[in-house]
Symmetry: C2
Subunit: 284 residues, 2 copies
């Protein structure tokens, strides 16, 4: 997916968030935003991919501001709350494969770190399980899982990964022969999960945890590790969570990919031809 | 005032609004936003003045999008509603000079075109008359008006001008010897009042209506007409409404200027050392 017209203001607002989280010095923040303006002036082009140009400007600011992980606290909070919620839901609900899939999409929706009542979040999640997916190719996904040898699961955000874990546990139980790879980012970028986050969440008990080799959100067209590329090539099915993975992979029209996401912003909704806010299990 | 760190995202968001108001074609909007990114990359520098760099990028987009006045409808709506409200308030309230001054600040606060209940707006305005100004140099302003020969009144937005009119009527009654000039923009720029708007509102009955000679918001460092500069030089007192006039004039620390505004955004509040939302009658 190429940038849409709304992507500039979104990336600039997120850059401001990076500056605010990294320093309380308003002059430092101003220097960072001037840097962000220059970067966007050069790289916000017709063919730019939003997740890529966004990640690049954020990493430029990380370096400029001397903060390698401005969202650290936010991510720790998200992981803590999501972990507790996922464990509670695992005990409370009798999850089947389909509801575990929906739970993993719900995990993509929730902002765990906003600090509102965990019970309220749990209610929201359970309500989402009753919602219909706007596009629902889950039957094709499950069928393909049954016919596949190698699954590559591309994670998205911290917090959300604990819901991915529930889904992957179900997949492992239903398809015990499947070779499972779970990928995350090489290092911190906004609130995306890193390999370290996956290992802390125990994903190595389910499959092989790998890095994309990159800190760019999604699966960018360059900078991927050869280890990741090898797994990417041999996978029979790829489950890609969230907008960043969609933005980067949708370029390739790869029939092995199933996207699980909520269309949170107008560009993604427009690109997919769905209403904003729609929950989707969709393949190209 | 130089740009603060938040100005980039604000100007980019307003640029997006310009694109949205000018065309429904998302590809056209995208080309406009790429243009905006390039412009900001070049001109969002340490010493840029927010009102100036903002106006410049908007005018670039107006030209690119072939729309000379994207806010036309918004401004017509604002003027219509504010005119009716101001007439009602003139009849209903027994205004003195001070409350007329506060009313003109209230006019700077209200978004007349949002379309909520006019009665509700009127209530809000009357409530604002009871609010204390956070910085109140109105006594010095009135004293100076008494000692002055020439007043230059710099207007800000459409809608608001009908409240400026009430204030200027009071000034004219109290200081009948005063030579009054009322200035507006040379042509359309966002929702700022133009000379045409002032003439429609009958300001020529109060004083001499003049143009700054420029479409840049405020009183920019270049591009002013010689007619405006002559009046600017000879004025003994200058009343400057709103943030744009403050941003451009505060550079000069001109003791003749009184700013009437609400500190709507964090940069203005920070620059003036007041809480966000404060209503002010302040001189340098």
């Amino acid at each position: 997916m190429k940038v849409h017209y709304e992507c500039l203001s979104c990336i600039v607002s997120q850059s401001q968030k990076v500056a605010e989280l990294s320093t309380s010095d308003v002059e430092e923040r101003k220097r960072a935003m001037i840097k962000a303006a220059r970067f966007m002036g050069k790289h916000f082009n017709h063919n730019a991919i939003p997740a890529v140009v966004g990640s690049e400007v954020f990493l430029t600011l990380y370096e400029h501001l001397g903060n390698n992980d401005p969202f650290r606290e936010y991510k720790v909070k998200s992981n803590l709350l999501a972990k507790a919620l996922a464990e509670d839901l695992r005990n409370r609900l009798d999850l089947d494969l389909k509801s575990a899939l929906k739970l993993s999409i719900a995990g993509n929706v929730i902002d765990f770190a906003v600090g509102y009542n965990p019970e309220k979040i749990e209610e929201d999640i359970i309500r989402m399980l009753d919602e219909k997916l706007h596009i629902d190719e889950s039957e094709a996904l499950f069928e393909r899982l049954g016919n596949s040898k190698v699954l590559l699961y591309l994670t998205d955000n911290c917090g959300e990964i604990y819901f991915d874990r529930l889904f992957l546990e179900k997949i492992k139980t239903e398809f015990p022969e499947l070779e499972i790879y779970i990928a995350a980012k090489e290092g911190p970028i906004i609130n995306d999960a890193t390999v370290e986050d996956l290992l802390k969440a125990g994903f190595q008990e389910i499959g092989t945890v790998i890095s994309t080799g990159s800190r760019i959100v999604g699966v960018p067209p360059s900078g991927l590790s050869s280890e990741f590329l090898e797994v990417f090539r041999k996978a029979d099915i790829i489950i890609a969570k969230g907008q960043g993975n969609f933005e980067t992979l949708s370029e390739f029209k790869d029939g092995r990919v199933f996207y699980l996401l909520k269309a949170k912003c107008p560009p993604i909704a427009r690109e997919l031809g769905v209403p904003r806010g729609a929950m989707l299990c969709v393949k190209p």
